[in-house]
Structures are given as structure tokens and as C-alpha cells.
């Protein structure tokens, strides 16, 4: 299976462990990733906060490149990127005059017909059953809290992916790997997102609540599908522990990490040794 690939700035920047993980795992599952030629930043929070047209033009440029190069589908592993792309597709399809305007701004024709998918959707395209059959090392001691964050499921009208209040698409995959995901309350609560630099206190407080709730429900690790969530829960975990006087020591895995491990890939090639928190799976709390 071949699919267009839009890494986004995070996966080529400080979350390059996620890219390693995605590439290694999808290759092992027979999915070929074709990186978009000369892709640009989607604009993230800054663009939609500052200039509406720019917040559509930047994603549109990438969609136009995908169309030009003949990709019918495109994987964007960062939910912020996929959200901006899907929002733009919707706006452009609602208004042909806007589409013409944007086409002029980005200097490329655009129809907005490319299907943008997130990492979980690609795994569903591969097939949960196929993944289950490919498992070499069942993750039976893993009790992950599947953390979706904000932008994988909201707003449901645009993303049309999984239940925005009690999603279970990650749990389905994780169970196929032999792990036992826990039932917990903070699946879609915000971690503070891009406020890591600009308003760190909030990130610390929100992320602390997420980690605490995961533990309270018996999780011995957390699994995410978003690089920003990973930064806030992993890179910032020491800070959270210090400032909240707590002890979390929870490994934060990417969903692709878990699949890679179950398929027999090593921690190094999956980028897991680049994570900040390295903790043996905590004893299961009954």
C-alpha cells in the first residue's frame, strides 16, 4: 500500500522520534510512505490565531502539492496538521470563490479532493486483524491509558473520526497487540497543547491531571498519537513531578511504538530511546 506522507514540522523537529516510529512500523506493515515534495508548515496555532486567509493558504499549498503529484490519500500523523488540512478542505468545498482566491494565493490549482487521514486511520486501513496476525511479541504486561487529546476527534463534524467523548479506535488496536488498555476518564481532555512555551503553568497543571487519572485507573503507561501531547506528557514529565510534588514515572508511547514493539522491532529503531521518560512498566495497581 502506498500513501502520501505529510510529516509536519514537529515530526522533523523535536518529535523526530515519532517519525522514526511511524516509518519503521508502517514499513514493517507493508505501507510505503511517499513524502510530499517540498511541503511547508501547515500554520499550526499561530496562523489560525493571527490571519484567517493564511491559516487556509498554508494547508492548501500542501493539498495542492499532493493533488499535483497524484496522491489520493495523505497521512498527517500530527493531529494539528490533519485538523488544519481537513478544515481547509471543508472551507474550500463550501465556497468555490474562496477556492479560486486561495488557488491564486498559493500559485497552484486546488480541488481539495485529497483524503487526509491520521495514523490510526492508516492502521485501520491496514486492518486490525492483519496487525493482530503480525504480532510476534504480545504486549501482555502493557496496561496503557489510550490518550487521544483534543484534535483527533474534535470537532466531530469536520474530522468524522471516532466518538468525540468516548473514543475506542486506539483501544481496538492496542488490544489486538495483546495489551490491556484501561478504562479511564481523561481520554480527550486537553494537555495544554501549544502553550508549552507561552503559558507553561497551564500545561503543567492539565498534563498532571491526565497522568494522575491514568494512574488512578491502573495504567502503567500512556499511549498517544500526537507529538504535542507527547512533549507535554513526556518531555515535561519531570517538570510536572517537581512542580506538582508528584511521582508519575509513566512511559509515554506513540501508538506506532507499541505496534513496532509487538512486531518485534527494537527500541532504538523506533526512537523510543529518545523519549525523556524511561521507566520500567510500573506495577499494576488493582
Amino acid at each position: 500500500m502506498q500513501i502520501g506522507y505529510y510529516p509536519g514540522c514537529a515530526l522533523h523537529g523535536s518529535s523526530n522520534d515519532y517519525e522514526m516510529s511511524v516509518r519503521a512500523t508502517l514499513t514493517a506493515l507493508g505501507v510505503q510512505l511517499k513524502e510530499l515534495d517540498d511541503w511547508i508548515c501547515c500554520g499550526a496555532t499561530a496562523a489560525h490565531s493571527i490571519n484567517k486567509k493564511l491559516s487556509m493558504a498554508l494547508p492548501a499549498r500542501n493539498l495542492a502539492i499532493a493533488e499535483r503529484d497524484g496522491y489520493s490519500e495523505m497521512l498527517a500523523p500530527c493531529p494539528m496538521c490533519s485538523m488544519e488540512l481537513l478544515k481547509t478542505i471543508k472551507e474550500l468545498s463550501d465556497s468555490p470563490s474562496l477556492r479560486r482566491e486561495i488557488a491564486e494565493v498559493i500559485e497552484l490549482p486546488i480541488k481539495g479532493k485529497t483524503q487526509v487521514v491520521n495514523i490510526i486511520q492508516v492502521l485501520q486501513m491496514v486492518g486490525v486483524e492483519r496487525i493482530r496476525e503480525a504480532v510476534k511479541r504480545p504486549l501482555s504486561e502493557f496496561r496503557p491509558a489510550c490518550y487521544y487529546g483534543c484534535l483527533l476527534t474534535r470537532p466531530a463534524k469536520i474530522l468524522k473520526f471516532d466518538d468525540p467523548e468516548q473514543p475506542d479506535s486506539m483501544e481496538e488496536i492496542v488490544e489486538a497487540l495483546g495489551a490491556k488498555p484501561v478504562q479511564w476518564n481523561y481520554k480527550t481532555e486537553c494537555c495544554g497543547a501549544g502553550m508549552t512555551m507561552a503559558n507553561e503553568d497551564t500545561v503543567i497543571s492539565l498534563s498532571h491531571k491526565i497522568l494522575s487519572n491514568a494512574e488512578a485507573h491502573g495504567a502503567n503507561c500512556v499511549v498517544v498519537a500526537c507529538p504535542m501531547c507527547h512533549v507535554n506528557l513526556d518531555m515535561k514529565q519531570r517538570d510536572i513531578e517537581r512542580r506538582q510534588g508528584a511521582r508519575h514515572r509513566l512511559m509515554v508511547y506513540y501508538i506506532s511504538d507499541l505496534i513496532g514493539l509487538a512486531l518485534g522491532l527494537g527500541e532504538h529503531e523506533l526512537g523510543i530511546d529518545r523519549h525523556f521518560v524511561s521507566a520500567p512498566l510500573a506495577a499494576v495497581k488493582e
Binding site: A10, G13, C41, A46, S49, N51, E107, M195, R274
Partner: protein, 183 residues
């Protein structure tokens, strides 16, 4: 019968008139505890055409765009888009509150970085942001916060001294200029 079109409704592509002030947005907002104006109050100000107060508040820059409000609103009002509209307006009118200078500085630095490189250069961004913020409010602790993280990130290969650059950077600049110029 003609009714005056609502400025915020037009900017945000949503009908603020539909809001019946139930407060569910405020109830679910992860940042509400530290906001000076509540999300439902910001929509109310938009309804009354009094967005002047809203664009000067700190709340709109504390919003993390988590979309919880939009998702749960019983009247399908896109509050997250209203927040975007307020942010855009506050920059247009130059009314961003003092308390959120750093956040605004960060977002501006981010866009500037993209404009120059086509993709985010993290080290460059941090440097620029800290400098701007330091010059803005002379905060020495801010300058050195996160500094301890840098070596750890570099150790893990997560920090690149030289960031990625897009090949066709000129088109990126042109896209930016076209969009920002039309403000």
C-alpha cells in the same frame, strides 16, 4: 427587513446570534479557571456588537483551541472560531492585553519563522521568542527557563542546530505577503 450583519459571525463563519448563553463552553474549557472573561461572555459581547471589550482581554490568548466548546455547543456555535476571530481583530486593532504579551510574541515569532524558512526551525524560534520577550518585559528567569532542556534534547537528537529549510522559500514569502497584506 434588513438586519445588521454581525462582524464576528461573518469573520468566524458561525452564527453568534444563535447562542442562548447556556455556559456549556465555559464549563468545559480547560483554561476557564485562569481566564479574565469566560468563553460564553465573549460570545455575548460579540452578540451585542461589543467585541471591543473582548479583543482587549487576556482570555482569547489563553485559549488553546482544543475545540471542546465547539464540539459540545448545543446550538452549533463555533466558539473556537469566534476566539480566532477575536485574536485576529485584536492584532488588527492593536488592543492585545498586556498580560498576554508573551503569548502574542510567541505566535508572531512562530509565523515569522515559517515565513523565512517554510518550516519551523525550533532553535531559531526559541532564540527569537526569548529575545523578543526579554526585550519586551525584561524577564531574566524567562530567558533561562527551558535552557536546561536544550542539552537533553540535543543528546536525544531532537534539537537540530541547523533547521530544515524548504527549497522554494520565495513562494512561501509571497503566500505570506498576499495574506497578511490584505488585513
Amino acid at each position: 427587513m434588513e438586519t445588521t450583519a454581525n462582524l464576528i459571525s461573518e469573520m468566524a463563519h458561525t452564527a453568534v446570534e444563535d447562542c442562548y448563553q447556556c455556559g456549556k463552553c465555559t464549563a468545559g474549557c480547560p483554561m476557564a479557571d485562569v481566564m479574565d472573561l469566560m468563553p460564553n461572555q465573549i460570545v455575548r459581547l460579540a452578540q451585542l456588537g461589543e467585541e471591543g471589550r473582548a479583543v482587549a482581554c487576556g482570555a482569547i490568548w489563553l485559549c488553546v483551541s482544543c475545540q471542546t466548546c465547539t464540539q459540545r455547543c448545543p446550538k452549533s456555535v463555533d466558539i473556537a472560531a469566534v476566539m480566532d476571530a477575536m485574536r485576529q481583530l485584536s492584532l488588527e486593532r492593536g488592543t492585545a492585553s498586556e498580560s498576554v504579551k508573551r503569548t502574542v510574541a510567541f505566535q508572531r515569532a512562530f509565523l515569522d519563522n515559517i515565513r523565512r524558512n517554510g518550516r519551523l526551525n525550533e532553535l531559531e524560534l526559541v532564540g527569537q521568542y526569548k529575545t523578543m520577550a526579554f526585550l519586551g518585559d525584561v524577564s531574566v528567569p524567562l530567558l533561562f527557563k527551558d535552557a536546561l532542556l536544550a542539552p537533553k534534547m540535543m543528546q536525544r537528537g531532537k534539537l537540530h542546530l541547523i533547521g530544515e529549510k524548504v527549497k522554494d522559500r520565495a513562494v512561501v514569502r509571497r503566500i505570506f505577503d498576499r495574506c497578511m497584506r490584505q488585513e
